[in-house]
Symmetry: C2
Subunit: 315 residues, 2 copies
């Protein structure tokens, strides 16, 4: 079985390689690729499949109503907050997303940026380039034996926990749900407030919801252990930026983030001023392996829908 | 029991902290601290203990003969090649060294410098500082699932193997002796030539001996897998520098080293020219934890000798 008319919206041509486009094209009689929603109505009239980058184009009730023949919405990423999945469901339209493709990419990145900081690698490379190989003037620490707290033990948090265990850290977590399979590996469940005040490393892996916004509020921010390192590869909506600024001013902790979840320019500018706030571009989740896995899952979802056994449904 | 006269040679005052100096001083009636071997003869005449940095001062037959009352030589580091341990033994003098203090420091450093490279962190920080948070133009990879070869499975190599397993790499090793306890954890013993030609990451952890000098010779250097990363935190005597230069010229692999084992200036200058040769100062083994452990073991060795149960003997 194939789709009659497949419409892609906001999917950057280069984010899918030629061989995966070829696979997609084999799954539909016709493909229309749109960069955004202009003139979309005429294309949706007879579309039975939409593939979408939800950050580039919002699939709301109005869009769904434009496509009376629609059967499947393929989200090219993990987040699906911008797709009205409930309304789609009411119309019998299945929505699938691409979860977990960047689990390893982000988990390894957490250790990359921790180690870069605690081993002063940038300073080291600079010194060597200037011909100073002495190693004098460095103040370096280890992960082993340190309290390593993980807030949010989903896919990524779980992998961070496992890798931290490999380093010999004293790993603890707090999450909405207990994870017995990780507790069996020595990852301890702990009180979130105590973790914040006692951990040497604190890595945030909560999903962004109304409950988790500003999770690191003024009170918790002030409680963060002195000389600790806090890592956020999750959305910065988890963090009260003003509270973070006030804590950074004390100069007694380091905050490291990546910009993979877009921040307000103003917030970025405010945080960039601090030497103890290390900001990376959106590189946490874009290893070659993650990019490849994303495409494979994305295409597989379409194939599986057509075979009658949809995968990674979110509605 | 205490020593009557304890002489330290070449031990930088600041490399031992005040509390450890205090402990050392409680173990001898008198302490003389010399920066080098000048006028040493008069001080050794009645010394029953020498504490030495073997890189700063060589304890040869001649020196040992200057000290007829000598009972104990305390090496402040791991290497003891510059102490004539056999001759000391023939005179009933016990030599102890400080092994293993930097195991964790070096093992974690291996992952720090691998991840710094495969996640292009320096480029990332630079881009963010210039206001480019897009993550465009990066080419990043993961450790998970890659062939990770460890050459030399001593203390450090073993920890590197365990951490690499935590990352989910396909870990293999070659060593003089098989290590069943690590094989039980899934670390596979393999043929060294095959490892060199197949591994994506290759970390050298051999001790420097006549047999291991120029281990990475012309032939092996040419066999190293394309697009792999070779890490050497062991002495650079393991590597034929000319052969490395010739391979680096191909631009199809990355070599990362730290300068903790001193190299010839000329060799450093030759290697610094290559973008695909990343050189760090002597920072692999100097975490705070390692520095502290070194002092503790060093002092404990002296105490244990005095108690009649010497530890970390090398003769």
């Amino acid at each position: 079985m194939r789709f009659r008319k497949l419409v892609t919206v906001g999917i950057n041509e280069s984010s899918i390689d030629a061989s995966h486009w070829k696979q997609i094209d084999s799954l539909a009689e016709e493909r229309i690729s749109l960069t955004d929603g202009s003139n979309i109505e005429e294309h949706l009239k007879d579309a039975d499949c939409i593939l979408v980058d939800p950050f580039a184009f919002k699939v709301d009730k109005n869009v769904i109503d434009m496509a009376p023949k629609l059967k499947y919405i393929g989200d090219s990423l993990t987040a699906y907050g911008k797709i009205d999945t409930e309304y789609a469901k009411s119309k019998g339209i299945i929505v699938s997303n691409v979860p977990g493709y960047s689990t390893e990419s982000v988990a390894e990145f957490v250790f990359a940026i921790i180690l870069e900081s605690i081993r002063q690698l940038e300073k080291g490379k600079d010194a060597a380039r200037e011909g100073d190989y002495s190693g004098l003037g460095f103040s370096l620490t280890e992960i082993k034996g340190k309290k390593f707290g993980i807030i949010g033990l989903g896919r990524i948090g779980s992998r961070v926990a496992e890798i931290a265990s490999g380093f010999g850290a004293d790993v603890m977590y707090w999450s909405r749900n207990r994870k017995p399979e990780l507790e069996a590996k020595g990852i301890k469940y702990d009180d979130v407030e105590r973790m914040i005040s006692e951990c040497d490393f604190l890595s945030l892996h909560l999903a962004q919801t109304k409950d988790t916004e500003n999770f690191l509020n003024e009170d918790r921010m002030q409680k963060i252990k002195k000389n600790s390192i806090v890592i956020n590869t999750a959305p910065m909506e988890l963090v009260d930026i003003g509270a973070l600024e006030r804590r950074l001013m004390n100069g007694d902790m380091i905050f490291i983030l990546d910009h993979s979840d877009e921040m307000k320019k103003d917030d970025l500018a405010r945080l960039s001023k601090f030497d103890n706030c290390i900001i990376y571009p959106a590189i946490a989740h874009i290893t070659k392996e993650a990019k490849m896995a994303r495409q494979e899952i994305f295409v597989k979802n379409i194939e599986n829908f057509l075979k009658g056994s949809p995968t990674n449904r979110v509605n």
